[in-house]
Amino acid sequence: MRYVVRRLVIFVLTLWVALTLNFLIPRLMPGNPAQAALAKLAARGPVSPTELHAIELTLGLPHGSLLSQYGGYLVALAHGHLGVSYTFFPESVRSLIAQALPWTLGLVGTTTVLAFVVGTLLGVLAAWRRGGIIDTVATVGSTFTAAFPYFWTALLALYVLGFVLGWFPIRGGYASTLSPTWSLGFIVDAAYHAILPAATILVSSLGGWLLGMRNTMIPTLGEDYVTFAEANGIPSRTVALRYAARNAILPNVTGFGLALGFVVSGSLLTEVVFGYPGVGSLLYNAVVNEDYPLMQGLFLVITVSVLVANLIVDLLYGVLDPRVRR
């Protein structure tokens, strides 16, 4: 029980620090959001000097001391208000995040789980048949794909499979003629649009799980109890999965817990390259346009989900491994 309380206190403290940094960091950036908004207009043609004033009036830029802004920020957060986005004015930050989150959870969530399951299983297989053909292909192959810069893989897939061969759409989360609904047609179309981005994430992240699993699995296979199980004539699949893999998987589970927390932040490069309407694209736009409220809203959601994932992993560890409870 003391262990749980201690974890919770640390959680609350970290949360407060994160919230404060979340408030401070955007305000340390040079320039101001009205000037960033002006940049968008300036790209469309000459802007009159009075435009900046009008934009400042429209956005209602924060004024007052930093301390009073901080107080206002904490109060608004407590009420669940994330404010109004500057970039997408007058859209509220909450509705923007609510629109983007399902896409990211769908795409990045699914691929994270898939990469973990497939990567770990392949890792088990590679370690069990180490030195064999599967091990050689999987290990060398995943070292190879993990070494590619992600955007390169993504652009190559986009260009070859999307543009040259025309098998997949090259942009967006769904066809431009459709509106987001829960109809079968839309879901099929959205899944079709997700194939290319999902495949590129899988290719680049599979290797990490595979190598991690293989490398912890190999020493485990040398343990006495594995040799004992084999000597007793237990079927090799049972030995591999129930005896060796079950013990070797712990570090991968920790990694998986954290990865799930980071799912919410989206996959920035994927979403930017494929124009995917998720949190990553939103974050990119928020930063480029100095959109304080949107940045704060996004970082808040991301920080909280990472912290919560961390807390859950911590609490689970307490259950799984009695030693950490001391």
């Binding site: 320039g31 009036l57 124009g275 309407p277």
Partner: protein, 560 residues
Amino acid sequence: MSGQVARWRTGRRSRPIQGLMVGLAGAAVLAACGSASTSSASSTTKVSPTLTIGVDNGSPTLQDDFNPFSGNQRIGTTYMYEPLAWVNPLQGTTVPLLAASEHFTNPTTLVVTLRSGMKWSNGAPITPADVVFTFDMLKQYPALDGAGIWDHVSSVTSSGSTITFTFTAPDVPFAQSILETPIVPKSVWSSVSNPVTFTNTNPVVSGPFVLKSFNPNEYVLAKNPDFWDASSVEVKTINFPALTGNQTSQLTLAQGGYDWATLFIPDVQKVWVAKDPATNKYWFPSGGEITLFLNLAKAPFSSVAFRQGISAALDRSTIATKAEDGYVPVASQTGLLLPNLKQWLDPAIPNSGYVSYDPTAALADFAKAGYHLSGGKLTGPSGAVSMSIIVPNGFSDWIEAAQVISQELAKVGISVTLQTPEYAAYASDLSTGSFTGAIGAFGGTGNPYNDLHGLLAASLAAPLGQTAASNYERWVNPTTETYLHALAAAVTTSAQRNAVYGLEQQMVNDVPVVVLYQGAIWSEFSTKNFVGWPSAQDPYAPPQPYGQAPLVIMTHLRLR
């Protein structure tokens, strides 16, 4: 890199990712040569009355906002809301839209007469009351008044079919800002509780198109049968798919996915035209002037002779060619966009104000200012001269220009460091004067007063550390003020001409800024379905799918 499409001021290309895509797109062209028959077959297919325009950035999806006063309005908004009139920046001519005519009765009174018999898209008549209401709304909500109308105007009244604007001081050239203000129906907007946050998802409009459908990936406009000039509109529908980035936009254009786009494409001939030379066209006219701003409040740039030296030390044609892939001409030091505004060019200015590259003359100019080359370094009273040039991050063509400039200045002994802050930081440095050199742009309004007023007026400058509105170089000169005031009050062409000539001579002789080359409007379009696009032979509008130019272009396009 996100949704930023290259517009008139800059081609934002070649962050590493895009640089790669450009290479790939080149390969696409090579690969496509073998199967050219598929694209040429398109000329026999049926002509479609639909235009697909690749211009509106989704970030990555589109927000439903058709408020004509919002900075975040959808591009299609200006295809629906008309102003009283529009000025063609390529020729400086005024095209009446809602107005039948407009004229100044004296330098402080502008009288506009509306066309008769016009209707809003909901069938209600368009009356002078709508115009007065629109301007009153801008007065009530300064956040909507981006042009600063109510800094110049004291009242807007109507009687019969005319509307009278009374100015606080003579300011004839400001008429352009008034005439180009979009007019909205009083019946709809008077019940809007806050027009600043109003997203106007169901626009009632006067122009050639109405909103047909909207979804976050694409919106569609349809021809407005109630438009006063509806018989001139042959485009039945316009699709605006969301753009999601330069990479994918270029690929989509190359695939024939857009009828009209505004992208900076290195080697447009290969990537776009060669795909179907019969129909794939482009025209990149000038839309502004790319300029080296020098901070006149700091030595040695406060010296005229020194600035002339810098001007002579720059080979503008090399800068323009390297920065913009040879798409744009060099600019005249007069500050006039030529040949668009050639009717304003002072014939007494040698070589039309084009400065020739002459490093020897540059060194002579520097000597006059008290700076001499010693040991490869230009040295003056306070040691060797060095400067920095700021360019917004990601504006890779401007960065390229600044790199050429620093090489050329190195040849006359000035060491230049290049800084590329994010745009917001760049804008803040410019306006507060915390820079020595900067690449920027000005002009392109089609009116020499508006172009030069923003650049040179003392009221738009500020001491170092305070925010200057647009006179970033901080040029404060009594002669300039005299010319600007004379120009503001001038209603006859000859009086206007005298003042403009005076300003041009100051630009050439005193070099308040170093004008480099003309900034292009990027425009690629297809004649597969529609002809009648603006061209160098018939520059009735800049070929840009954003802003108010499409209102005029849409009445010129003809089905093929």
